[in-house]
């Protein structure tokens, strides 16, 4: 918006304080990695990590947008699952529909996200409960359709997950482009700035002439869109529609959002921090894998990091 430009410039010179913690964590992991393992610090490894982190990355962008407007989306995992099964099942029968189905799946995600937003606004129920409800419906429907991975996609579609252009993974590049576009949108577009206003206080935003309802609908639809994109990534990676693939991603999509300095309750935070959070989580698990540390200990470490990261900043936040 038209807030004085000089003010903006000053703020950009100073490092955004909410980013400090994730940058510190990232620095610690990278420095430790270089010392602890010689294979960690290679370009090849970084590119692999970038490739693997895309699924989480896509899911986190959507989660971040919903968190900024003051909500939370617990249906992301279910949307991912549903879109992988939807896509793989249809393409398996009609291989010619591959390209239209990419758009179809994205549209499907948007539709579910829109439903989430609409129900939240219309019923006034806490988004936590609404999205749990839609997640439950989606998961139930998918599990009635199939209990094991089904369907399939043409072989060439693997390129999206595994392909490289000039040694840069396509999926990773798409993820970074998505983050950049969302960052531009949130910071330089009126509707994007309205996200923060609505997250800060829907009533105040409404009084300023922002149509809060539309912004909230847009946020949930975007979350559905990015969840479907994550679903497409997983189809391309595994080649099948897996009715359980999304389950763990719902909660793990929240971790990078929190590490990146966004606050549950809304109105604050930089989407760039979320990208750093995604990269941090992926690098950390990559390093711990190199060090032969079991997944179970990695869970403990992840939990402790969430606690530390969140309790370093004492939020005078709203409840969630």
């Amino acid at each position: 918006m038209m807030l004085s430009k000089s003010n903006n410039r000053v703020r950009r010179l100073k490092l955004d304080p909410s980013l400090i913690i994730v940058i510190l964590l990232l620095a610690i992991v990278i420095v430790c990695g270089f010392f602890l393992n010689e294979r960690f610090g290679t370009m090849r490894n970084f590119m692999n990590v970038l490739e693997q982190s895309s699924g989480l990355g896509f899911a986190s962008i959507g989660q971040a947008m919903v968190v900024i407007v003051g909500g939370i989306d617990l249906s992301i995992g279910a949307i991912i699952t549903a879109s992988t099964v939807f896509m793989a099942a249809v393409v398996d029968v009609h291989p010619g529909l591959m390209i239209p189905m990419i758009f179809g799946t994205l549209l499907f995600g948007v539709a579910i996200g829109f439903c989430n937003g609409y129900l939240t606004l219309k019923t006034g129920v806490h988004p936590l409960i609404v999205t749990l409800g839609t997640a439950s419906i989606l998961n139930g429907s998918v599990l009635i359709y199939t209990l094991q991975p089904t369907g399939g996609v043409p072989y060439w579609f693997e390129e999206f997950a595994y392909g490289r252009i000039w040694n840069v993974p396509i999926s990773g590049a798409v993820m970074i482009v998505c983050f950049a576009l969302v960052w531009l949108f949130l910071h330089y577009y009126q509707t994007g700035r309205a996200f923060y206003a609505v997250g800060g206080s829907p009533e105040a935003a409404h009084l300023c002439g922002i149509q809060s309802n539309r912004v909230i609908l847009l946020a949930y639809s975007a979350s559905g869109f990015f969840a479907a994109l994550a679903g497409i990534y997983f189809v391309s990676r595994t080649g099948v529609g897996d009715p359980r693939i999304g389950d763990p991603i719902t909660l793990s999509s929240i971790t990078p959002v929190i590490l990146g300095g966004l606050i549950l309750g809304g109105g604050k935070g930089n989407i760039f921090g979320v990208l750093l959070g995604v990269i941090f989580i992926s690098l950390l698990s990559n390093l711990l894998n190199y060090m032969n540390i079991s997944t179970f200990i990695q869970w403990v470490i992840q939990g402790v990091i969430i606690i530390i990261a969140v309790s370093v900043y004492v939020h005078k936040g709203k409840n969630l």
Binding site: I72, L119, K122, T123, G124, V125, H126, L128, I129, V130, L132, G133, T134, A135, S136, I137, L138, N139, G140, S141, L143, I144, L251, I254, I258, L264, G265, S294, T295, F296, I297, Q298, W299, V300, I301, Q302, G303, V304, I306, I307, V310, S311, V314, H315, K316, G317, N319, L320
Partner: protein
């Protein structure tokens, strides 16, 4: 004129709230009648005993969850804590019933510590309850899996089986345990001064502080109660199943929150009764039961659960808005 309309609106909303108090019991009754119509043997003593045995672990967790939600919190760590309590109890590898009190004591103290940490994080560090308990859930899960290396083993004394699946002159023992805690916690919440402090703190923590209530302390105690209930429920469930599993009580964190919401406990704190929450738990369990009576696939439970969540929660929040 304004005053009149305001008063009218107030009266209407109060009446509406009085009506909403009956939503949960009425839907429970209608579910029971639907089930009886579909399957006349539903009301047989055997089936009721079975349903109560299934409902007891969830209802126990719901009792604790209700306290946390009343003070504007959420406890996502309950399911993980249930499984951890079960693993801890079997870690003793005890065979004689004499060990039961020791096992009980250790598990309960450990559960209380988890609740204490949750409460301290939420109050002293201002971490949002969602994140604090989410992180606790992940940490507990990691510790549990690391200890069991993914394949839990260990045995329980025979006495535990009685606790989980036994009958005392026809009444399931775990139901008796539930009633015991229902009366204790019901007294605590609705009759004692602590209960009033819970409602005041949930209504507005800041004003609670101003009237001389240590809001932090109340909130911490609520988290400890929730964790205690989860620990006890884990012990009962492991006694019911007979073997330990890393995922004992999986999904109970969500189901217990849903039960509270169905029972009319508001997520923004300070409103609702323990009785309502337990009704919510019964509605959930009955609904699962009806899906099976109807011969639908088990996965249909998820769909119906989702629809009920959105629909009933919508009814309740509409009543607040008016």
């Amino acid at each position: 004129m304004n005053d009149v309309t305001v008063n009218l609106a107030k009266g209407a909303s109060r009446r509406f709230q009085q009506i909403t108090q009956f939503i949960a019991p009425i839907s429970l009754l209608s579910l029971v009648s639907i089930a009886t119509l579909l399957q006349p043997s539903f009301l047989s003593i055997n089936n009721i005993q079975d349903i109560l045995t299934q409902a007891a672990p969830l209802a126990l967790v719901v009792l604790g969850q209700a306290f946390v939600i009343l003070v504007r919190g959420l406890d996502l760590s309950v399911a993980s804590l249930m499984a951890s309590a079960a693993v801890l109890a079997t870690a003793f590898n005890a065979t004689s019933d004499a060990m039961i009190p020791v096992i009980f004591l250790v598990t309960i103290v450990a559960s209380a510590c988890v609740g204490l940490i949750n409460g301290l994080l939420v109050t002293k560090r201002n971490v949002s309850p969602f994140l604090a308990t989410l992180a606790m859930m992940i940490v507990l899960q990691g510790i549990r899996f690391y200890y069991t290396q993914g394949a839990p083993s260990g045995s329980l004394p025979e006495g535990f089986r009685v606790l989980g699946a036994g009958r005392l002159t026809g009444i399931p023992v775990n139901m008796l345990v539930f009633f015991l805690f229902f009366f204790i916690l019901g007294w605590l919440l609705h009759k004692s001064s602590f209960g009033r402090r819970v409602y005041i703190t949930g209504g507005n923590p800041k004003s609670a502080n101003l009237v001389g209530i240590y809001a932090d302390r109340v909130i911490i105690i609520c988290y400890v109660i929730s964790s205690l209930m989860a620990g006890i429920s884990g012990l009962i469930l492991v006694g019911f199943v007979g073997t330990v599993d890393n995922w004992v009580g999986r999904g109970y964190e969500i189901d217990s929150i849903v039960a509270c919401v169905l029972g009319g406990i508001m997520l923004n704190g300070g409103k609702g009764t323990l009785w309502g929450a337990v009704t919510g738990a019964l509605i959930l369990i009955l609904m699962f039961n009806i899906v099976i009576i109807l011969g639908l696939p088990v996965q249909a439970q998820l769909i119906i659960k989702g629809i009920i969540i959105i629909f009933v929660a919508g009814l309740f929040s509409r009543s607040i808005q008016t």
